[in-house]
Each structure stands twice: as C-alpha cells, then as structure tokens.
C-alpha cells in the first residue's frame, strides 16, 4: 500500500534516485572498443582528405559526405574517451596505480588528444590518440597478467594496434 503510494508520487513528481552503484553485470572490460573507435577517427580524417582531393569544387554531394564523416569522427572520438573513462574509473584500482604511476597522466593525455581530434582534422593528432590508447591497453592487459602483441589493424587505416596475445 505504502509502496504503491510512493510509486504514484514518483510517477507524478519524480523522486530523486540514490545509486547503489554496482558493476553488475560485468567485470567485462576491454580497451579494444576504445582502440577501434580511435582508429575510426583516423579513418574518417583519411576519408575527409580523400573527399577533398576528389571534389575540389565542393558541391552538395561532397558536403553531405563531409558532414557524415565529421559526425562519425565526433562520435568515435567521444566513444573512445568514454570507454577509457569507464575502465579507468570502474576497473583501475590503487594497486594498479602503484605499479603504473603514469596512468592518470596517460588517461588525461587520451582525453586531451580525443578532444583535439574532434576540434581539428589533423591526422597526426588522431594517430597520437590511437597510440595513447594503445599504451593504455598495454597497461590494462598487464594488470590482467596477459601478454600483448603489436600488429597492424587488418583494415584501413592499418595502424599498429595492441592486442592480447592469447
């Protein structure tokens, strides 16, 4: 009865939520989603450059494609930042920080490079973004006791990526 009343009050007025924050259902963390998102940012910049060279005169079709590439670049840079923040905030513990004291600095660098990749169409910045995420992936897998290997991504842009060596 009281619970029903509270439900009605919540529906009508919106009762503030208190989070009993939990990692359910996961414990599933993998930086590969951030790495792929970072790679996508570089890919979008390549496509933008390619578009410009093929259509120097511009035009509606060109602008339409350009708009789509920019939107995708924005989305994936933000996704990469988000996915790194989740691992950093939810998975990384003080013992990891003791072993990798540069981790906060590295995460901050990823955030800054991600923002700059959104603000500009500078390929070199985006490549640095991917490499910083790779460095994060190396540390992440080390905390799991899993060796890593570096290999070129099997799709364009074929940048070097860090993968768990399973």
């Amino acid at each position: 009865m009281i619970y029903k009343l509270m439900k009605m009050l919540d529906k009508s007025f919106g009762i503030e939520q208190a989070k009993a924050h939990c990692d359910i259902p996961c414990g599933i963390y993998d930086p590969i989603t951030a790495q792929i998102a970072g790679l996508t940012v570089v890919r979008m910049i390549d496509l933008m450059a390619d578009l410009e060279s093929k259509h120097p005169e511009g035009g509606l079709e060109m602008q339409n494609s350009l708009g789509r590439y920019v939107a995708s670049k924005e989305e994936h840079a933000e996704k990469a930042k988000h996915d790194i923040r989740v691992i950093w905030g939810d998975y990384i513990k003080s013992q990891h920080m003791e072993k990798h004291p540069n981790l906060h600095e590295l995460v901050h660098k990823i955030m800054a490079l991600g923002s700059k990749s959104r603000q500009t169409a500078d390929r070199e910045t985006a490549v640095q973004f991917v490499e910083a995420i790779n460095e994060f992936a190396e540390i992440f897998w080390e905390t799991k006791g899993i060796a890593v290997k570096r290999a070129k991504a099997p799709y364009p842009p074929a940048l070097e990526m860090v993968y768990p060596d399973l």
């Binding site: 503030e16 208190a18 359910i24």
Partner: protein, 99 residues
C-alpha cells in the same frame, strides 16, 4: 529534514533492491549518530547520489562505506566518504512487496 529517494542498481542487494524507496534523515539531524551498520546517502563527486552501508567510522570521522554485493563500487575503490558529502541516513526503508 526528511527526504525520499529511490534506489537504482543492486549493490545493496538483497536487503535493498532496485526500485525500493528510502526516507533519509538529512544532516545535521544525525551526523554524530552515524555508526557502523547505518545506511547512508551521500553525494559522490564522480558517481553522484549514492546509497551504501557504513562499515567503519574512523577516529577522525572518516566514513568507510560498502555495498552488500561483491561487485559493489564503494570505499574499496574510492576511499573514505567525506563528511561534506553525507546527506543523511536512511530511517525508513519502503521495499517492494514480495509476491
């Protein structure tokens, strides 16, 4: 001062379940009386409004909180809860009726 809040997520499961409501007695009504076993609501700067169980109150009033679920995100990750963050403690738990 009293305030209602609704619980989301599962870290206090099975005692408190998602969708339950709680009545919070707000600070300064009861800060000094916060003790081990109390369920407190506090505003964490990163996680927002959280509800957890007090596991320990340190000699300088540092409040260590935990959930009751093994996957709970709590003082084991973010350390002691600052006194300034505490909004109050739960004085009434309105759980969902069990079928």
């Amino acid at each position: 001062m009293l305030k209602f809040a609704k619980i989301v997520d599962h870290s206090l499961w099975p005692e408190y379940r998602e969708g339950d409501f709680v009545l919070i007695a707000k600070i300064p009504l009861g800060f000094r009386s916060i003790r081990e076993g109390d369920v407190v609501v506090f505003k964490h700067p990163l996680y927002g409004l959280m509800i957890k169980k007090v596991r320990q109150v340190g000699p300088e009033n540092q409040i260590y909180v935990t959930g009751t679920h093994e996957k709970s995100v709590d003082s084991r990750q973010f350390g002691a809860v600052s006194q300034d963050w505490i909004m109050g403690k739960v004085v009434w738990h309105i759980g969902r009726p069990t079928r």
